[in-house]
Structure formats: structure tokens, C-alpha cells
């Protein structure tokens, strides 16, 4: 085992408080820390201003405070090819993609990891709320201690190889502790607001953004029984279980999106938060990753999340013949959405995850959910 001073750790720095504190902690532990800013998206506006500039300025300020070298690296092309193209394709297919999962898989822990290794790094560190533990030569990914910030949902595609080379210095901390450390050290980013939303969209209007890339095709909004309730602005603007923006008035309970028919460009709506059509009993998952590096051979019980920040639900996972997995819910779930990730846990250990491809009810996959 190398001494910290001989161990080079490249820290992916976004200009936010989390990655700043990661760098701070590693520096205090005596590592040879190098800060690197990733530029994945060009959002330069007509005045030549881009948000990446502001973020990079913060990276410079923090790195100078910590007295560590800083650099930038451009992955715009890789991001476009691997993440943004996928993002658009999924919307075109009527699904709800998860670009953060894809970004972690293809950019942060692949292209960026390769870059870090090319710089002679022993480890890549980020400001994610997750933990890595080595047990008998196998690396396990554990949830972050701060239950509210745990980011293993987004990290479900990490492999053994990646886990053996990552450090998540914040995994055992609460967010408020991270802020406190930043303030104590007087870091320039101590009071910086957390970023929200998808990184390349930022604070902008999601609908407007999407319409710049995919032509909107308005169509019919109807109940599953075929009763027309109005027009929708384009299927990509709606996700399962959504209530806002439907514009259906009248008496009774509020209306929700319960499904999509991409072929006929129809949006299905139903009345009531607990509308029967929103409930399912299982799902078919594809593109699974098991963090242990070993796929399960038989069916097993564990817990799962179908979206970020949801409580775990009990499920049974059964491997299929063709690399797919049938995930059956012990209790019915509301608004499980194709395109999103299903992530599996055994207590605190994140076992891995997969993409939700189909939603199942009464042993049939529901074609109306897209």
C-alpha cells in the first residue's frame, strides 16, 4: 500500500461544494491531489456567457485555496455521443431516460476515469454520497450515510474495476456536515447553492429545451376507454403519474398521465392519484449491471428503488434467459416508469441496477405505458 503522499488522486471538481470538500478532505489526508473540471456541455449563449465558466472559476478559487493544481478536460463530444443521443432517443421512443445514470456510466467513471489514469492517478474521487468497502478482495458500494443525499441510485452501473479505483470521501458524512467543513475551511464554494435538474438543461424550461431538439407532435389525450379529453403537446413532455400541465377541468378527482401510445401518438389519462392503471406488480429490466461483477444465477429477494429518493420496496429478482430480469414487487407499485433505473439493494449494499424496459401486471406487460 502506497503512502498517501505517493498516491495520486484525481478529484472531479464541478465547482460545487461537495466536490470541493472531497478535495479538501483528501488534501488534509495527505494525498497528492489533482483537481480536474469536466466540460461536457457547451451552453454558450448569444452574449458568449456559459455557466461552465462560472463553475470553472469556482474550481480555480477552491484549488488555489487548497494549493492543488487544477486543469480542465473537454468531453463534449463523448457526452453528446453517449449521453445526449441516448437521452433524445429515449424521449423519441416515449420513455423517460435517466441521463445522470448514463453520464456516470459513460463519462464520469469511464472517459474521465481513463483520463485520470492517463495522468498517473491511483484513484478517482468525486463528491458523490456513496461508500466503497473492500471485503475479501471484492469491492462493495454502500449507500451514503446521509439517507436524503444517497446517490447510489445514479451509480448503479459501476463495475468492480471502477469501484477498485474510486474514492467517495463524503460517503460517511451528512450534507450539513459537508457544508460545515466547507465553511470552516473558508472555501469559496461553502455557500454555493446546490445545482438542480439535469446538468445540460440547468434552470431552463425543460419543455422549451426539449422542443429545440425533438419536434413536438401534438396529439389526442384520452382515457384508456377511448374517451377523448383534449390535446397533448407532444408525448415526450409527459411522464407516468404526472398531474401538472394536462389542462383537463371538470368535476371529480384530478387527472393523471397513466400511459402513452407512441405509435398512435396518444396520451392516456385517468382520474385520481391512485388510478388503477398506474399500478403494476412487476417489471422487466434490461442492461443490468451487478457491482460485484457476478450476475445472480437464480432468483433472490432484495429491496429496490424505481426512482431516486424513493423508499426501498421488497422485490424478487428472477434472471431471464436473455440477460433480462423479471422483478416482481411484494406490494403493488405506483407509476413505475420505463426508461428509468431500477436499483437493487441488500441492506446498505447497492447490488447494481438495470433499465426498466416493461412494466408488468397480472403476468402481462402493459403496452399502454410505452
Amino acid at each position: 500500500m502506497k503512502e498517501p503522499k505517493d498516491t495520486r488522486v484525481v478529484v472531479g471538481m464541478s465547482g460545487g461544494v461537495d466536490s470541493s470538500v472531497s478535495a479538501l478532505m483528501l488534501k488534509e489526508q495527505g494525498y497528492d491531489v489533482v483537481g480536474i473540471f469536466m466540460k461536457n456541455w457547451d451552453d454558450t449563449d448569444e452574449n458568449g456567457v456559459c455557466t461552465a465558466t462560472e463553475d470553472y472559476e469556482d474550481v480555480i478559487r477552491v484549488c488555489n485555496q487548497l494549493d492543488i493544481p487544477y486543469y480542465a478536460v473537454n468531453f463534449e463530444k463523448q457526452y453528446w455521443d453517449k449521453v445526449f443521443t441516448y437521452f433524445l432517443d429515449e424521449y423519441k421512443a416515449g420513455r423517460t431516460p435517466n441521463p445522470d445514470v448514463m453520464c456516470n456510466k459513460e463519462i464520469k467513471f469511464k472517459a474521465f476515469m481513463d483520463h485520470a489514469l492517463a495522468l498517473g492517478a491511483d484513484y478517482l474521487a468525486t463528491g458523490h454520497y456513496a461508500q466503497v468497502r473492500e471485503v475479501d478482495g471484492t469491492f462493495e458500494m454502500l449507500r451514503g450515510v446521509d439517507n436524503n443525499k444517497d446517490q447510489t441510485y445514479f451509480l448503479n452501473q459501476l463495475s468492480q474495476d471502477v469501484l477498485s479505483k474510486v474514492m467517495f470521501p463524503l460517503g460517511h458524512l451528512e450534507k450539513k456536515e459537508v457544508r460545515r467543513l466547507a465553511e470552516e475551511a473558508g472555501l469559496a464554494t461553502a455557500k454555493k447553492k446546490d445545482s438542480t435538474g439535469i446538468c445540460f438543461i440547468g434552470e431552463r424550461n425543460f419543455k422549451e429545451f426539449l422542443s429545440e431538439y425533438i419536434p413536438a407532435q401534438p396529439g389526442t389525450m384520452q382515457t384508456l376507454d377511448g374517451e377523448v379529453k383534449g390535446e397533448h403537446d407532444g408525448l415526450m413532455y409527459y411522464t407516468l403519474g404526472q398531474r401538472q400541465g394536462l389542462g383537463i377541468g371538470g368535476a371529480g378527482e384530478p387527472w393523471f398521465v397513466v400511459g402513452k401510445n407512441v405509435e398512435d401518438n396518444v396520451l392516456y389519462v385517468g382520474q385520481g392519484y391512485h388510478h388503477e392503471a398506474l399500478y403494476s406488480e412487476g417489471l422487466i429490466a434490461v442492461e443490468a449491471n451487478w457491482t460485484s461483477g457476478k450476475a445472480p444465477e437464480g432468483s433472490f429477494e432484495c429491496t429496490a428503488k424505481f426512482r431516486y429518493r424513493q423508499d426501498d420496496s421488497k422485490v424478487t429478482v428472477t434472471p431471464g434467459a436473455d440477460g433480462t430480469y423479471l422483478v416482481t414487487f411484494h406490494e403493488r407499485e405506483r407509476a413505475v416508469t420505463p426508461g428509468q433505473a431500477v436499483v437493487f439493494y441488500h441492506r446498505e449494499v447497492c447490488l447494481g441496477g438495470a433499465t426498466i424496459d416493461k412494466v408488468v401486471k397480472e403476468n402481462k406487460s402493459l403496452d399502454y405505458v410505452g
Binding site: V34, C50, Y56, Y71, A72, V73, L119, G120
Partner: protein, 379 residues
């Protein structure tokens, strides 16, 4: 590990004697050169002496020197200032796409203002051709701007021949000589140019200072308004300590110019030989024989600029490439894009090494070795 500085085209170490002058002047001569008292006169005297030294260094007259905040301001003043003053004679400008951004973006600004700008083609050897200027020159051309030594490749343009073409033409000829000044003899009595831009911090002088040479009789509109300094061509209290330091740098440079030229040639050749001996796969961008020895631009096939530069820095080698965007990442070089086309991989795998006063010969072998180790590891 000792760090080795190979980025003299970006900035040079300030000569110790220059630092002494700046310190002394800062301590002893604080008056405003425009003031009508003893303190002002003392400052004015230093300014006039500096102006004379600088003018003599290019065989020009004192009146033809405008002190500026550096090369960028000198280029802007030359290009925008003369275009504005001469627009009644025409609105056509000729330049190249390999100019320093100080010139290129000034020309693009004029394009937005309704001027018509033609760009001389730049060939694979990094040079422009006389016949292209002949072809593009029109009756209503008011300005031709071509740099002397390219800051990325070191390639030298045929300024003498190019500027001869505008000798009997209404167009002003401007040349950014920031990378040439201090290495090559510049004589405004022989070179028929009207405007020359120079920066102090490229010749071991302080940052924030430079000058524009403007041939007597050239029309120029000031870009900065205020007091009547610099014969009303550049308002603002002169930076006397820096100008005095700049003067000192010009004097020293005059004494060591030829020696430096030979030394940099040796540095470059030793550096290249080390890379060859270490069997590094590289090619030279531009043509060595047509370039200033202080700059060499190398392409490393299969490599990537950002990975190379970061690795170099982490191994104590300071070099550079093209220009960085505001978010820090390296943009493909606009100079190499113009020479080779935007799709050519040389635009994204090339590094500029520039030699100067901070170097000695052993560093060339040492840096060549460190670089070859990195390339081997990345291959």
C-alpha cells in the same frame, strides 16, 4: 523535480535589471508626467527617454511611438483605429486567420461593423503567398494586417515583400511583431509598414506595457478617450515605472539579440534531437527552416492535447497549446485549423514549446526525456 519553463511565447521571466529599474522608478518618480511641476517633469523625462530608446530600436522617430497596455491594445488601436479613421477611403481590409486573437477578433469586430474583411489563405507550411495579396488587394482596401512571427508555430511571414505591395497603395500595412521583436532586427526605414504592435512581457519586460509604432502621417482614431496623453492617440496616465522597465528590457535585448537567436536555435535542435533519439513519434507543424527558433510546434499522433499538457505540467514541463476556453478546456488551435483544416487531428494533438531566457541547454535534454517518458506511457 525541477520544473522547466518552455512557454516563453506566453510570458518571459523579467530580467533582474528590469526589476531594479521598475523598483527604483516606483520609489523615486511618482509624479504624473502631464503635471507642470518638478515631479511631473521627472516622470516626463523618463517617459521621453524610454520613447527614444524604443523608437531607436526599430529605427523610428519618437513621435511614431504610442505606449499602450500591451500587444492586444496595440493591435486593436492599429486595426480598429486606422479603419475608423480611413473609412471614407474604403471599407475593405485584408488579414489572415492565423493572427493572434488580438488582431483576429479586432478584424471580426470590424466585420460586424460593416467592414469587408478578406482573409489571405494560409498554406500547409504556415505561410501566406504574395500573389494572394496581389489578387485580393483592391482600390478601396484601407488596411492589410499580417503578423511577422506566428505565436503558435513560429513561422515567419514575408512581411518585407508583402508590405512592398502596399507601398504605393492607400492601404496601411500593419504587422503584429510581438513574437519577432527582440529576436529579429526591425528597421522601419527599410520595412515599408505603417503600423507595428509590440509587447513588453515577451522580451523580459513587465506585463501591462507595449507600444504601437505608427508611421508619421498615418491617420488613426483614438479608441480610448480622456486626457491628451500620447499625442491624443491614447488617453490615460502613462505607466511610467513599467515603461521605464520596458525601456531597460529593450536595451538589454539590443545587446544580446544575436546571441539569443543562436542559443534558441541550439535549444530547439537539442530538444528535437532528444525526442528523436528517444524515438518519440512526432511531426513539426510548419517548417522549421522558415520559423523563429524560439517557438516549435509539435504534433504527437494519437495523443490528445489536454492529456499531454496536464501530464507535462504534473511532470514539471510548462508548455501550451492554442488557447483555452473560458471554462479551462483547450480549444482546437485556430492556427493549425487554418493550415490543415478543422478535421485534421493535428489541431487537437499539438503542443507549442517556446524557448527563452529561463532555459539552459541541459534542460532541453531533460525535458525531451520527460516528454518521451510520458508519450511512451500513453502510447
Amino acid at each position: 523535480m525541477d520544473s522547466i519553463y518552455l512557454d516563453h511565447a506566453a510570458a518571459t521571466p523579467i530580467h533582474p535589471e528590469v526589476i531594479d529599474v521598475i523598483t527604483t522608478v516606483s520609489k523615486e518618480t511618482f509624479g504624473n508626467p502631464s503635471s507642470v511641476h518638478l515631479y511631473g517633469r521627472k516622470s516626463r523625462k523618463l517617459l521621453d527617454e524610454a520613447r527614444r530608446t524604443v523608437a531607436e530600436s526599430i529605427n523610428a522617430d519618437d513621435k511614431e511611438i504610442i505606449f499602450t497596455s500591451g500587444g492586444t491594445e496595440a493591435d486593436n488601436l492599429a486595426i480598429i483605429g486606422t479603419a475608423m479613421a480611413n473609412q471614407h477611403k474604403g471599407r475593405h481590409i485584408i488579414t489572415t486567420r492565423i493572427e493572434h486573437h488580438a488582431s483576429l477578433h479586432a478584424a471580426e469586430y470590424l466585420e460586424h461593423q460593416g467592414f469587408e474583411v478578406d482573409y489571405l489563405p494560409v498554406y500547409e507550411n504556415g505561410r501566406v503567398k504574395l500573389e494572394d495579396l496581389k489578387r485580393l488587394l483592391r482600390e478601396d482596401t484601407i488596411l492589410v494586417s499580417v503578423m511577422m512571427v506566428n505565436n503558435e508555430t513560429g513561422v515567419i511571414q514575408p512581411i518585407q515583400e508583402l508590405s512592398e505591395l502596399t507601398r504605393d497603395h492607400q492601404a496601411c500595412f500593419h504587422s503584429d511583431i510581438v513574437q519577432a521583436f527582440g529576436l529579429y532586427e526591425i528597421d522601419t526605414q527599410k520595412l515599408p509598414v505603417d503600423l507595428l504592435a509590440v509587447s513588453s512581457h515577451k522580451i523580459s519586460g513587465p506585463k501591462g506595457t507595449g507600444f504601437l509604432y505608427m508611421r508619421e502621417g498615418t491617420a488613426l482614431q483614438a479608441l480610448q478617450h480622456g486626457g491628451e496623453q500620447e499625442r491624443k492617440r491614447r488617453a490615460g496616465t502613462e505607466n511610467v515605472p513599467s515603461v521605464a522597465g520596458f525601456e531597460k528590457a529593450v536595451k538589454i535585448m539590443g545587446e544580446v539579440r544575436e546571441e539569443k537567436l543562436k542559443a534558441y536555435q541550439r535549444y530547439r535542435d537539442t530538444f528535437l534531437k532528444t525526442l528523436q533519439d528517444e524515438a518519440v513519434n512526432f511531426s513539426i507543424n510548419g517548417v522549421k527552416e522558415m520559423s523563429a527558433p524560439s517557438i516549435i510546434n509539435l504534433s504527437f499522433p494519437g495523443m490528445n492535447v489536454e492529456t499531454l499538457l496536464t501530464n507535462f505540467d504534473l511532470s514539471g514541463i510548462a508548455a501550451s497549446s492554442g488557447s483555452a476556453c473560458t471554462a479551462g478546456s483547450v480549444e482546437p488551435s485556430h492556427v493549425l485549423s487554418e493550415m490543415y483544416g478543422t478535421e485534421d487531428e493535428r489541431t487537437t494533438n499539438s503542443i507549442r514549446f517556446s524557448f527563452g531566457m529561463a532555459n539552459h541547454e541541459e534542460q532541453m535534454v531533460e525535458s525531451g526525456r520527460r516528454i518521451s517518458q510520458i508519450i511512451r506511457r500513453l502510447s
